[in-house]
Symmetry: none
Subunit: 399 residues, 2 copies
């Protein structure tokens, strides 16, 4: 739905909508010709499927494999082809770094290089977050003329670099060669207005290399996902509600904040996340709950662990259901089949449960049942309009 | 998918994709309440359905009956409402006539008229191609002031007329009245800039009538499908691959050439077409194979012959399958139900088979199974994005 139509039709109310995103939910048939979801024990999800209605979503479009950013933007109601969020912004927002209008953010990785400057480990052995924090503090001392500079640890080898200054441009290349045995790449401008910024970035990289030359590992940096903060229509204004995000991982919290959700502490697991929802049940109309376990296992190519993560989510769902949300949607931001060990373009299973649902004849939550579910195959950016319609939060269009 | 997004996400590779188009594949229930496809023996296609995933495509849109041009443009990935190819251009390209920017092409038919100029046979008894070639040579001698002129035989009664000159316009009416017992129609301009061209065309028609007045049959012409050469993004550049077309009929070859495919000799039947694919297997990443038999039979209202054509294609498919393409798509460019003896708007059955396919529970390739297949109902211009995604030829969108 177009955002201006949402703004026009949305109405306040006291109904509650919960969107649970099982990251990378969709799968492919594995060893026993069943998908991860089919293999998992999912009593709660199957009951939702029986009482609710199924469908499958296209996060970005046919054949397009979404990154996490576009996948979530779509679920939040924003066409990801129109609203492109850079990785640097996602990472910065995810660690509570308040980006200003003159800030340029990048996702950084610590890597290990040999005496000749060739990368021997792109992730520096996934160095401990505490070590990355110490290194980030050292790198923060680098002085660049005319630019303020922030280096903040994220998790393991990952950090965020923010340059603050007038006229900084995101028209820059990435410095990670995406392979080992070669040096890191210089940063170059992809448009004329990026040239001055590229020089600053290369200065930073050289200073960092010099500062870290006493280290055997985690002694260099790569930088990518150059981006400035986008201006996005905010969910509370669009939908006339209070929205909260409950996530364990920072990036998803960051994305939710960009569209105007409050970020609540997620704890360490899905049980804690649902406990957070319970604790704040009266404070919000809409909860986005992010579950990472499915995607991590899928990316690792671990079919059984992904299946177990689905079952873990399903068991935890009992707690959420006692809150009796008016509308509950469970879906994913994209597929991550364990057999591919990567994100994929396959449509994503979805179940919608709650008030005014027109049930279909499905009794099981699975890819194949969702592909013939009552909601059909539809763009993921229509998930929220459908959910809020069921919650009585969209007025009639036309007389 | 938007073409600029394809250009951005497509990646080279060594995978092979084959798109088989059974022209006019979709049907309607016939005498025994089964469609042509359900009636045919299709062991290979049914196995593909079992191992692959089904869906149904909309070539142009809901309720729209496509001509061959739009039907194929969609399958090649171009929204046929944005990229309109005139029939004259198709015919000219199909006989290897290299159209220049100042060329105006029309599809011509030889017809037979009586002494009063009334059409007695719109196709001149489907006169032999060799006779049409002689007639075309005579017509090529016609001189029009300020315009160069080419008349080239196609097949049977069909020919191509190309006018070459400054300022020629395609804003012209067709001269075929589409029925017999009436004279051919004069060509008139549909916009002001077509008036001078219409006069040239009517001069040509009058000269042709005079030149052929010694003949009892095939003694007049009708002209339609006025068109100039469009500028189309080319498949090799869009998709970073080498693409080949294997067809028996010239028009489909012509269309494939317009989007940058190499036209390979198709021979006379589907067995020869697959032999051509085999002979060039190492030279291309993508093969478009066109099968005409289904449409010809459908247009003739011959239910049994259409069913037999499907079975013939199915049997020939064994040869192609031994090449083990990474991705194989079998579909049609539109429906041509034998009960209607015409193209129709009904969605078109599709099976996708190969790497990374998420199977549905279908075991049979039929209209009804395709309508509830795992891919759902989707625009035909998304067929190639989906196929190339499965072949690993589309990178992730966003971080």
């Amino acid at each position: 739905m177009q955002l201006d139509l949402i703004r026009r039709l949305s109405i306040p109310g006291d109904t509650k909508v919960v969107l649970c995103v099982m990251d990378g939910l969709g799968g492919l048939p594995g060893p026993r010709a069943r998908t991860e979801l089919e293999e998992a024990r999912t009593d709660n999800l199957d009951r939702l499927a029986e009482q609710g209605v199924l469908g499958q979503t296209l996060p970005v479009g046919y054949g397009i494999t979404p990154g996490s950013g576009p996948g979530h933007m779509a679920l939040f109601g924003y066409d990801p082809l129109s609203f492109d969020i850079g990785r640097g912004v996602l990472e910065a927002t995810g660690i509570d770094f308040a980006l200003g209008p003159n800030d340029l953010a990048a996702r950084g990785n610590l890597c290990t290089v040999d005496a000749d400057g060739r990368i021997t480990d792109r992730r520096a052995g996934r160095v401990a977050t505490a070590v990355t924090a110490q290194i980030a503090e050292r790198l923060s001392a680098i002085a660049l003329p005319g630019v303020e500079l922030f280096v903040r640890p994220v998790r393991e080898h990952r950090f965020v670099l923010v340059l603050r200054g007038e006229g900084l441009s995101s028209a820059l290349t990435e410095t990670d060669p995406q392979k080992e045995g070669v040096p890191t790449l210089p940063c170059t401008a992809t448009a004329q207005d990026g040239e001055a910024t590229a020089r600053r970035v290369n200065d930073f990289i050289a200073h960092a290399r010099a500062l870290l030359s006493d280290r055997e590992t985690a002694n260099a940096v790569t930088l990518r996902g150059w981006a400035k903060r986008p201006t996005l229509p905010q969910m509370p204004e669009l939908w006339k509600l209070r929205a909260a995000a409950v996530t364990v991982y920072p990036m998803y919290r960051g994305l939710a904040r960009l569209v105007g959700m409050d970020a609540l502490p997620g704890g360490d697991d899905i049980q804690s996340e649902f406990a957070t929802v319970r604790a704040h049940w009266d404070d919000y109309d809409f909860f986005f709950v992010h579950f990472k376990g499915t995607d991590s296992a899928g990316e690792d190519g671990d079919f059984r662990r992904k299946s177990a993560a689905i079952a873990e989510f399903d068991a935890a769902l009992s707690d959420l259901l006692t809150l009796r949300p008016n509308v509950l949607v469970v879906t994913g931001d994209h597929s991550t089949p364990a057999t591919m060990a990567a994100h994929s373009w396959h449509p994503v299973p979805l179940v919608l449960w709650g008030d005014h649902v027109r049930t279909d004849e499905s009794h099981v939550f699975s890819e194949v049942e969702c592909s013939r579910g009552g909601l059909g195959t539809f763009p993921a950016c229509e998930v929220l309009p459908i959910a809020f319609a069921h919650a009585g939060r969209l007025a009639k269009y036309g007389a």
